[in-house]
């Protein structure tokens, strides 16, 4: 009933496509983080002129589907003569650049909101204490607020990373042969959609598990202070052998 031979036969292509997916994910996440950090700080700022433009940006990026954003950048911009004549065309003519740009802006907007939320959740007392010690605003941000905010943001960010992994499948709509693109071509060649798409679904699943595992390690390392205390309560008062 099922024919998984074709999947085995095309494993090299699938591996190549998996690498493409990972590259899309890695580059857009990295660039997105670079964009998101200043935007997140600005978004959490009390100064309206700083926070408001970022609110507009994240509102637009989070309020429209990533597929539409990708089509606007890839097909939409190419419609205009002045874009095609411009110096930027070598970049915008590349499907890779357009996909990475759309993904970066999208994940940048979501991540900025995650960071802003984590910054806002900083206990006011910590900030006040730092101020009273005479730290400048910049020092408070870099020494007190950001280190704890970035930790707090970790669980929400792990969700964003996994959503982005799945989001990269949209690259297949603009001629990039990522995992989903490879599945489409496998399907087109063999007319076996179940096997083709199941194979890449499994690969996505494995990648997701790997990412979840990585984040669990990171959380164990950086969010240790939020977990249950590791001390033995028995040692506190009852045990006579408590040497310390």
């Amino acid at each position: 009933m099922f024919n998984f031979e074709i999947v085995i036969d095309s494993l090299p292509e699938l591996a190549q496509a998996g690498w493409v997916t990972l590259q899309l994910l890695g580059v857009s996440l990295l660039a997105g983080l670079v964009v998101a950090l200043p935007l997140g700080i600005a978004r959490a700022s009390d100064r309206r002129w700083l926070a408001w433009p970022v609110w507009c940006f994240t509102y637009v990026m989070r309020g429209t589907p990533m597929l539409v954003q990708l089509f606007l950048i890839y097909y939409g911009l190419a419609q205009f003569e002045f874009v095609r004549e411009s110096m930027l065309w070598p970049w915008f003519s590349s499907a890779w650049f357009c996909a990475l740009l759309a993904f970066t802006l999208n994940t940048g907007a979501y991540t900025a909101e995650i960071i802003a939320g984590a910054i806002r959740a900083t206990p006011a007392g910590e900030v006040e204490a730092a101020r009273s010690l005479g730290m400048s605003a910049w020092r408070v941000m870099s020494r007190i607020v950001l280190p704890s905010a970035m930790r707090r943001a970790l669980p929400a960010y792990s969700n964003e990373v996994i959503m982005m992994l799945h989001g990269t499948s949209l690259a297949s709509t603009v001629t990039i042969v990522d995992l989903t693109g490879a599945a489409r071509e496998l399907n087109a060649r063999t007319y076996l959609p179940f096997e083709s798409f199941l194979a890449v679904a499994l690969i996505y699943l494995v990648l997701t598990f790997a990412l979840v595992g990585l984040f669990r390690l990171a959380e164990r390392r950086w969010l240790r202070h939020l977990g249950p205390r590791q001390t033995q309560p028995a040692a506190v008062g009852l045990a006579p052998s408590g040497a310390t």
Binding site: Q79, W89, S93, T175, R184, E185, N187, P193
Partner: protein, 282 residues
């Protein structure tokens, strides 16, 4: 409260009844669901008010009228046609699908209802040499899983093949300069692109290509392997449209030449259903 619950109950019972009854009623009426593309002008496209139109669509309607069948047109992307056919989401495909030996392994075909050659389209005045060496590293756009896709993949191995889900997208990227060439059906290229404003500054290049190994015997109606009776019905209807002048009437709406192509396909071309080379596949 009670009345609302009973109302919901009645509604759900009625709905499940409808679900059970529908298939058997369908078997009586034999409504044909036909897969069409809607993105392959002038054969199949969507007009400004959202309706399907084109040569394939008119032929489909004429065939259904000739066969006295009630037909429902289902719009699908081309690479989803054969899977949809096999999973019984549709009963036939009328989407300019070429009758090739490769596809014959998966589906049954009627006789052809038209046949046109394939050709390259490039920027007018382009010096591109249409040889395997000349297209090395060049970006050639094709619609995914078409005969043109296969031909380029096999013949121009060093070309950078860029595959699209829809022909329209190939045109968009050809016009914007993302592609060095496109390879496609000559009529689809001529009427769908070259004669439109977007196609200004582009032209055919190289000869018309009619390699039977790739392009087969023209476009036919694709059906499930088991539906041989339906195939015979379609064959009879195509022959009837050809002889009673309906075909010419439809064709003259779109073309100023005979798209049916030269010699009609030999009767033996539709291989007997008994020989099922696809049996090993599923």
């Amino acid at each position: 409260m009670n009345r609302i619950t009973s109302l919901i109950m009645q509604a759900s019972v009625a709905m499940s009844m409808a679900l059970f009854i529908a298939p058997s009623a369908d078997a009586q009426a034999k409504k044909l669901r036909i897969g069409v593309e809607g993105a392959y002008p002038p054969f199949s496209e969507i007009d400004t008010s959202g309706n399907l139109k084109g040569f394939d669509i008119d032929i489909t309607n004429a065939l259904c009228a000739q066969m006295k069948r009630d037909c429902e047109l289902v719009q699908l992307s081309f690479d989803g046609m054969i899977p949809a056919l096999q999973s019984r989401k549709i009963d036939a495909v009328i989407a300019s699908m070429s009758i090739t030996d490769e596809r014959r392994k998966a589906v049954e075909f009627s006789n052809k209802y038209y046949k046109t050659p394939a050709r390259f389209v490039v920027k007018a005045g382009s010096k591109l040499e249409l040889t395997p060496a000349g297209l090395k590293g060049k970006r050639v756009g094709v619609q995914r899983s078409t005969t043109h896709d296969r031909y380029i993949a096999d013949t121009y191995k060093d070309a950078k093949i860029v595959r699209y889900t829809k022909q329209d997208e190939v045109f968009l990227d050809l016009a914007s300069g993302r592609l060095d060439a496109a390879f496609l059906d000559s009529i689809a290229a001529d009427i769908g692109f070259l004669k439109k404003p977007a196609g200004k500054g582009f032209a055919f290049a190289g000869p018309e290509i009619e390699d039977r190994k790739y392009f087969g015997d023209g476009a036919g109606v694709a059906l499930r392997k088991s539906d041989t009776a339906l195939r015979d019905e379609f064959n009879a209807a195509i022959a009837a449209l050809r002889s009673n002048g309906t075909y010419k009437k439809i064709q003259d709406k779109y073309f100023d030449f005979d798209v049916y192509g030269s010699a009609p396909v030999a009767a033996g071309a539709t291989a007997p259903a008994a020989a099922k080379p696809a049996a090993s596949k599923k």
